[in-house]
Subunit: 188 residues, 4 copies
DNA sequence: CGTTAAGCGAGACGGTACGTCATGTCTTGCG
DNA sequence: CGCAAGACATGACGTACCGTCTCGCTTAACG
């Protein structure tokens, strides 16, 4: 049964179809291949319906990322900082480099370099939630007394910064050894 | 007197005008405002002249970056690793966030997220030369014997990774204290 | 207190509001400016209410014309054909060129060139009633015996044809002399 | 050999293709079926090429009419006014009602009712040339001395006005008798 | 020392996607 | 049941750039 609008706001069906279509096209054809017309066609939705709810294709990807991210990346709680990090950082690396959500993240990070408005939304809606997960592990370690005087924010940057650097800048693979080095530098 | 072509090789005048126009437009209007037509108009050059020498606008920016970068960012040589880093890292941060070349770098980094071909050229022509400078300081320290057993590549990532992460991802400012923390973590 | 529907038949209030809104917009902004959405907004009526009762905006204008025309253009009865025509033809010209109803008539005549269905309704509901008035004068003259053997239909065409031609085709103003010429040609 | 633009102005090939496509679509699907996109597709031309040279689809039809009209409707010269008119007026009627150019003329006449700017161009480029032909017959008669004191302009209106009135307003067919009546009224 | 071919400015061309506007259909809840 | 409200699929609008092409001028090496 097709839904053709009603007085109580938007069609959830259309919303989902748009987000999924955007996601799929991004993964299949890259960011340049993502067009509002393409999304509309693939989602079986009118272009105007997209423009009614999203100002641009970037906003669609932001929504798509927010929707999907929340189902992923639950940080482990293994009882020791070193173990938690050894489990979590590879998960994060895989998330960023291998998953569809990671592809969306990278595309948004790319677009954030071109547009300050995108950058602001990207930080609030993508980076902050990811950092919250990063922080969680360190905070639990602090609560256990492993690090009495830790500056959590700086520590997060030192831990995940090199990882994002490899993902977004150098393209180097993130190896077990690389992560071990990061953990050792922090624990030392 | 305008130059209208010759039989043997390209017009250096046109090349310079194009690179400068691209640079200027990027800084003034952002990456989205950079168009081949706009560059041509501003440089007083025919569109075809651009397409004859550059496959896309990204290649223009790459050339512009390479031209300009070589005049910047000479790493200091103060005799101690801590001093060198304390002098160099703020220079790098300023280069990335404040200068026109930094704006080009960020734009290219952004576009590299969207296109693997751009990513490859970006790494070869932008990232590698910058990393060469990063490495120089650590190599000199190693030669002085400050760190006998240092893995230079990993150390570079740990040093500059958090810095790029702030520039490209979180947008947090890069403070004196932040840099001191990075240096301390390495020297420890 | 606004009316929001009732159980027994359509709202006359809504009908009037729609016809007036269509008329007003046509006069103010021209035929291209007449849109169903615009009419609905101006009339304070839902779009669906319009589509429930009129198949298209042209049908709205047809209804508007029929409503208004009946209050206008009563042919005079001065006792002689020449006098009647000398009084009536200028009235007709003014009606077509100066009044709001004339504007509606011209818009419908224009649309009739594009769509045979419109043309049919236009002739039945607009042209025929106007021709009835034209004919009336000639018929009364025939009844008075002024013209025993007159072909009324052909005479009407010869009289008002040039007038419509000027209004719809050449745009020439309709002068006293022009009308006198038409009358003279008929009476001769 | 395809032509893709040069420094000396527009492609005559594209111009012709556009005019013919517009003409064909108008005849096949009516004025409402004429769209710039449809013309572009049918002519094998880019939409922008159309907008570069014509402000609107009406301007295309105007050009198409002007191009085609000049090859049609040469008034006869049979030596007497009555004969000339008896030959010419049916030709005119057929031109307006049966030919493709007539369809374009009627469409333009329709659009002229909606837009004063169109009306102005329509009169200058369509109506005036047609009237020139109408006038020719009467002028030749005047030169022959058939009508010493004829007001040619008014006579043209009286002759062709009823004819256009039937074509554009009533839709009545234009019969031999009807035309004879018009000629008789003038000659009388 | 004139020929001639490459580089150039100019700009029209076939395309693709943009973001907007109006159409006519639909669903909902109030009166 | 009629209505106001408004979301929806559809499709054309007019614009902006893309990358390709042709043209005629300028200019320097070659004949």
């Amino acid at each position: 049964m097709r839904h053709h609008g009603n007085r109580h706001g938007r069609s959830e069906q259309a919303r989902q179809a748009v987000l999924e279509a955007a996601d799929d096209i991004l993964v299949e054809r890259g960011f340049a291949g993502v067009t509002v017309e393409g999304i509309a066609a693939r989602a079986g939705v009118a272009k105007q319906t997209i423009y009614r709810w999203w100002p641009s294709k970037v906003d669609i990807l932001l929504d798509a990322f927010v929707d999907d991210m929340n189902e992923e990346l639950t940080p482990p709680d293994l009882g020791s900082l070193a173990d938690d990090l050894a489990a979590y950082l590879p998960m994060l690396a895989t998330f960023l480099t291998e998953t569809d959500e990671g592809a969306v993240f990278r595309a948004l990070a790319g677009q954030a370099q071109h547009d300050p408005a995108v950058a602001a939304r990207f930080r609030d809606e993508c980076v902050l939630p990811l950092r919250a997960r990063d922080r969680l592990i360190l905070q639990r370690a602090a609560e256990r007394g492993e690090f009495a005087d830790l500056d959590v924010e700086a520590a997060v940057d030192q831990l995940v910064g090199p990882l994002y650097y490899r993902v977004l800048v150098t393209g180097e693979p993130i190896t077990r050894e690389f992560i071990d080095g990061l953990v050792r530098a922090l624990v030392a």
